[in-house]
């Protein structure tokens, strides 16, 4: 559900641009910023997670690592704090929907 961005970038110091995949779509971000900042600037997502208790929609709140509202699946790792994770080129980011899943059991010998 694409919604309008809530933030936009001010003229900046020519930081390098990197590319992330967010929920299957490509967005551009600037080096040195966090995944949460990049997603807020892109305005691609109306929410970044749903709660494990009631399934309520949430998005980044504190931006300083204390509220844990910005939990996302980053490069396959669930429940990472997007506001504490710096963007890297090629990163794959998905929403954390409800409780995380346990990783699949390692391949067992047949």
């Amino acid at each position: 559900m694409p919604t309008g961005p809530q933030f936009q970038r001010l003229p900046d110091q020519n930081r390098a641009t990197v590319t992330l995949t967010v929920e299957g779509r490509t967005i551009e971000a600037k080096t040195g910023e966090t995944v949460a900042a990049a997603i807020l600037a892109a305005g691609l997502l109306s929410h970044t997670r749903t709660t494990p208790v009631l399934g309520a929609e949430r998005a980044p709140y504190c931006m300083m690592g204390v509220c844990f509202e910005c939990l996302m699946v980053i490069d396959g790792e669930p429940n990472r704090q997007a506001c504490m994770t710096l963007v890297q080129d090629g990163m794959n980011v998905e929403r954390q929907l409800g409780a995380r899943t346990a990783p699949a059991p390692a391949q067992e010998v047949a």
Partner: protein, 472 residues
Amino acid sequence: MSLPAPCPTHDLIVVGAGPAGMAAAECAAGLGLSVALVDEQPRPGGQIYRATGASPLADASILGPDYQRGAALVEALSRHRIECFYNATVWQVTRDREIGLLVQGQTRLLQGRAIILATGAMERPVPIPGWTLPGVMTAGAGQILLKSAGLMPSASVVIAGSGPLLFLIAWQYVQAGVTIAAVVETTPHGNYLRALRHLGRALKANEYLRKGVALIAGLKRAGIPILRNARHLRAEAGADGRVARLHFRTGNRDRSIECGLLLLHQGVVPNTQITRALDCSHDWDALQRCWRPRVNEWGATDVPGLWVAGDGAGIAGARAAEHSGRLAALDAARLLDRIQPSERDEKAAPDKAALAHHGAVRPFLDTLYASAPDILVPSDDTILCRCEEVTAGDIRHFVALGCQGPNQAKIFGRSGMGPCQGRLCGLTVAEVIADARGVPMEEVGYYRIRPPIKPITLGQLADLDIPQEAAE
């Protein structure tokens, strides 16, 4: 059982590289101590000087002159040999002064002879109905986005609440060219009168007052509507699930303002997670309505070898934090026999005088910007524990069943048991219980905080060697 004390890796470990931590590290290193400085961010500065020296903004002057102070602190820091651990999450601090770090997914243990905690403040939670909606953030979050990523709101923004930061962020946004729909101030009218009697003392540090007056005048000049004495704030979602409007009441009138972004603020409170986990004594600060670790004039806690400096010991602001950081470092150096008590006292004199100066304004500011009762003790339908989705009504029900404090509330309804470990609900849950029981906060207490201080994975913990004694 305590761990065998391993060889110290550093004389002093400073946790937090904001103004208090930077000043403490710089001072201690200058006295010849081996110092480690640890911070969760990629560079020093703390939240107040976030991204200082590396601003993404083409024109960082929009952040105001105070922000530039951070660069000087970082520069002073760089003149010393200090082992800095950035992007480092502290997940454990023991009473034996061992610190568990997580750096790039790797666990690592440091051992200090002394520890200074300079973990600063966090924003007071602002529990209003709808504060969990996407698009509702803290004013501090807005500032962090501006400082660290150069982001300004493009959606229509309302800034609501109370405290100096409310006007600072609004002023910074105006400098950046943002159109602010409104500043909605919740400061009760009665606060102005109550604050007046502290004005005389506050005038000793009148630079704070002048700055505040200038910020508000700047906002008025820019034509930003400032709506005062607002009560019963409630955020409402639009069709896309994000915040769409803020409802509130001023006088006898119900009002609402459309917004695509709502920034809330009710001042800041000490981040006591580590001192709580260490079971330090804490005292209730009735004026600032928060807990602060019990410290002496040097910042020493009742855990030997552990100091708290800066806003983590009680809110006094960034400039005061520098001085309290130095005081803690001087006292640590004295404890480690690097300087004599007389030398410590001599070196400390200017810092003590400066602290007194910066402290002069606090009673005025704290009284003026005391949160309104309906924010401290919210209505039944308000979520208090965001992680576990526990409402004020749930907490009141637990009190009716005999719940005396937040730790029983935890057992009854899981409040404080989610990933934020009670950071965002601890104060409010206790306020609601105190109010429902009709007793003071001291009688209600606070959550017992358990390690890890920040989540760590089982695998990361398992990677550590078991200390000999525990392994049997």
